[in-house]
């Protein structure tokens, strides 16, 4: 049971960081539906660099760097060119999915490095994830930088008039967001499951995207949701730990996805919106073009 809880928290960490990165970008008004693609890049490049150099540190740095680069690309398309953000995000997802399948293929197999040591029984990244949540909450709600990020996400024209550089603020958010997505991917391939095979994420990025909608753009609710989904994911992989022989293991694998659909549906009902309020950033998905 302890083993199950530990693995669940490990999985939650990846959801937490991936979803938090998306939340950060969305708070500045930029939607990136290609979380999965950025994560695949971070995971694959991180894995390749770590295995080649034998250094975890370099692997993580490479994962973060490629994530930042992809974030920059998304920013260029979405902020500078002002193109449709959904199309851009789809492009990034398919680019990640297609290209990492090709470049990572020669690295198929286990990482073959000594595992990253635990801290009081848990992966060190769990603590980093929780710390990032607290930092994000603090920055977003208590600092002037956070106010700037939120205001460009709510009403960029008003923000611009009050002296905030919308373009620069959005770029900052989107690049940081990409770096965190790359980091989340690298945690998957270097710590959670250090074996490379093609398209191994199997939907983590899309669940992370859904988590942002569940969280109502609040980092603490996001953390709760991530822990729930990390547990569900782990349960779907090892159902025998909790409920022996109830369903086929394949059917268990559908459970996190089914629950995502169900929760997303609940979230979008009018009852829910009226009761909990929709905290969706007002300018989400809209390019800002200065006239």
């Amino acid at each position: 049971m302890w083993e199950f809880i530990v693995r669940s928290l490990d999985a939650s960490t990846i959801f937490t960081i991936a979803a938090l990165s998306e939340l950060l970008g969305q708070r500045s008004g930029v939607l990136n539906v290609g979380v999965e693609g950025v994560m695949l890049f971070g995971a694959t490049i991180g894995f390749m660099v770590a295995q080649t150099t034998g250094s975890y540190l370099l692997g993580f740095l490479a994962g973060i760097a490629i994530g930042g680069l992809i974030g920059l690309l998304h920013g260029f398309f979405s902020i500078t060119l002002g193109s449709d953000q959904v199309v851009n995000g789809m492009g990034i997802w398919i680019l990640g999915f297609g290209l990492t399948t090709y470049i990572g293929y020669p690295y198929t197999g286990p990482l073959g490095m000594e595992r990253i040591p635990n801290v009081i029984g848990l992966s060190p990244f769990f603590f980093i994830g929780v710390a990032l949540i607290i930092i994000a909450w603090f920055v977003l709600t208590k600092t002037s930088l956070g106010l700037r990020i939120r205001s460009v996400g709510e009403n960029p024209s008003v923000a611009e008039v009050s002296g905030i550089n919308v373009t620069r603020t959005r770029y900052l958010s989107v690049i940081t967001s990409g770096m965190l997505m790359g980091f989340a991917g690298a945690i998957y391939s270097l710590d959670y499951n250090p074996v490379w095979s093609n398209d191994f994420l199997m939907g983590w990025g899309f669940i992370a995207l859904a988590l942002v909608f569940f969280s109502m753009w609040n980092p603490y609710i996001l953390l709760g949701g991530s822990i729930l989904f990390g547990t569900l994911w782990q349960l779907s992989l090892n159902p025998q730990l909790v409920l022996p022989d109830l369903m086929s293991r394949y059917i268990w694998r559908t459970v996190p996805f089914t629950i995502t659909v169900g929760a997303l549906m609940l979230m979008s009902t009018e009852w829910f919106r009226a009761r909990w309020g929709a905290a969706k950033p007002e300018a989400l998905g809209q390019p800002y073009i200065k006239d």
Binding site: S83, N88, M90, F97, G98, Y102, G203, F213, I251, S268
Partner: protein, 377 residues
């Protein structure tokens, strides 16, 4: 930007003539192929040789051409499954899930007629084949309808929902064809059961008859969007759902409708690949690869700008490229997954090019530099 006495600037397009859109699309494909040649260079192969290998296998060889045509039919159906919702501004990235459901439903019919128990069973093709197709359509439509209903009724994000449905159906297929599942094949190696020869889909010159369905749909969709009220309503919803509402177009009905239509076409794609392509006739253990291939439908749909007829040559091109790519990969030792890499490169090039659908580059002559005019002392 100034260049001498000329100024280069971007101008927002008011309208985009058809020929210019075509030109931009062709240019995007060309740029993607040039970028993609890096993969040949990396493997020490001259890109021209590489492309020659790909195209000659895909379109000239007697082995490659039938495979290209089968992929073309599949991709065209996947493209239509994407195009109909995108005309309403909605993203169907659930072609994979819908085609798995279509394939499962078609095989369920075959199963019900006892196709699993005897490989040599003589079943009435005139009855079983139409039923298999009907079931495939229904299966795809049901999975599509889930996303369409949730979008229309609750405004639930269709991208996440369709993607989740892809994974759900992916695992349901695994449940049914593996480890003692109902549709497991006799070999027990993870493939589904094979249908008896008596219900193989009819071939016309070695091409499955599904090609006529796909091309018929091309005409039908062209007509739907050019001439019918419902086509107009879909487009109006796509331009602005809220404005469409005031024009009396139901905001519930349109999402449901476009996803049902998309889903049923994807269901046909599932029937086509697993029950009509010569040499397959079963749900193969690598069915996930066909789900991945379905994502080319997104690219074909975007490049063709939602035009059902323009999608035909594009689907043919990509059918050939992916098929020839697989062949060249083996022959030229390019490493696994070049069809996936091409998918990625094409998509991102296209994303970059969408800018030019909205803006054009204009060069204007600025006033001649007048350095000779001044105050003479």
């Amino acid at each position: 930007m100034k260049l001498g006495s000329f100024e280069v600037k971007l101008e927002k397009r008011v309208s985009l003539p058809g020929w210019e859109a075509t030109l931009i699309s062709l240019l995007a494909i060309l740029v993607a192929l040039v970028v993609f040649s890096y993969i040949f260079v990396r493997a020490g192969v001259n890109p021209l040789t590489g492309y020659k290998e790909i195209f000659s296998y895909a379109f000239m060889s007697s082995f490659g051409l039938p495979l290209t045509i089968n992929r073309f039919i599949f991709l065209l159906l996947c493209t239509y499954a994407f195009i109909i919702p995108i005309r309403a501004g909605l993203w169907n990235i659930g072609m994979a899930g819908q085609l798995y459901a279509g394939a499962l439903s078609a095989f369920a019919v075959a199963f019900a007629f006892g196709a699993k128990t005897s490989q040599n069973a003589v079943l009435p093709p005139g009855l079983v084949i139409p039923l298999m197709i009907a079931a495939a359509i229904l299966g795809g439509a049901v999975v599509g309808a889930i996303a369409g209903f949730l979008k229309g009724r609750f405004n639930t994000n269709e991208i996440v929902v369709t993607m989740m449905l892809n994974f759900i159906t992916y695992w349901i297929v695994a449940r049914l064809i593996k480890e003692g599942g109902l549709f497991m094949g006799a070999s027990g190696e993870g493939d589904g059961f094979k249908i008896p020869e008596s219900i193989y889909a009819p071939l016309v010159k070695n091409v499955p008859f599904t090609v006529f369905i796909a091309l018929g749909l091309a005409m039908l969709l062209y007509f739907l969007f050019a001439k019918t009220k419902i086509g107009y309503q879909i487009k109006a919803y796509g331009k602005s759902p809220s404005a469409a509402k005031y024009a009396g177009i139901s905001p519930y009905k349109i999402p449901l409708l476009v996803f049902i239509m998309g889903g049923l076409i994807a269901g046909l794609a599932g029937y086509h690949y697993f029950a009509a392509v010569p040499g397959v006739y079963k749900i193969t253990k690598n069915y996930g690869d066909f789900g991945d291939l379905a994502f080319y439908g997104i690219i074909c749909g975007l490049i063709s700008q939602g035009d059902a007829l323009a999608a035909i040559p594009i689907a043919l091109l990509f059918g050939g490229l992916t098929n020839g790519g697989r062949f060249a990969q083996g022959k030229l030792k390019l490493g696994f997954g070049i069809d996936y890499a091409l998918l990625g490169v094409l998509m991102i090039t296209l994303v970059a090019f969408q800018f030019f659908y909205r803006y054009k580059i204009v060069v204007v002559r600025t006033k001649k530099e007048t350095s000779d005019v001044g105050i003479h002392s």
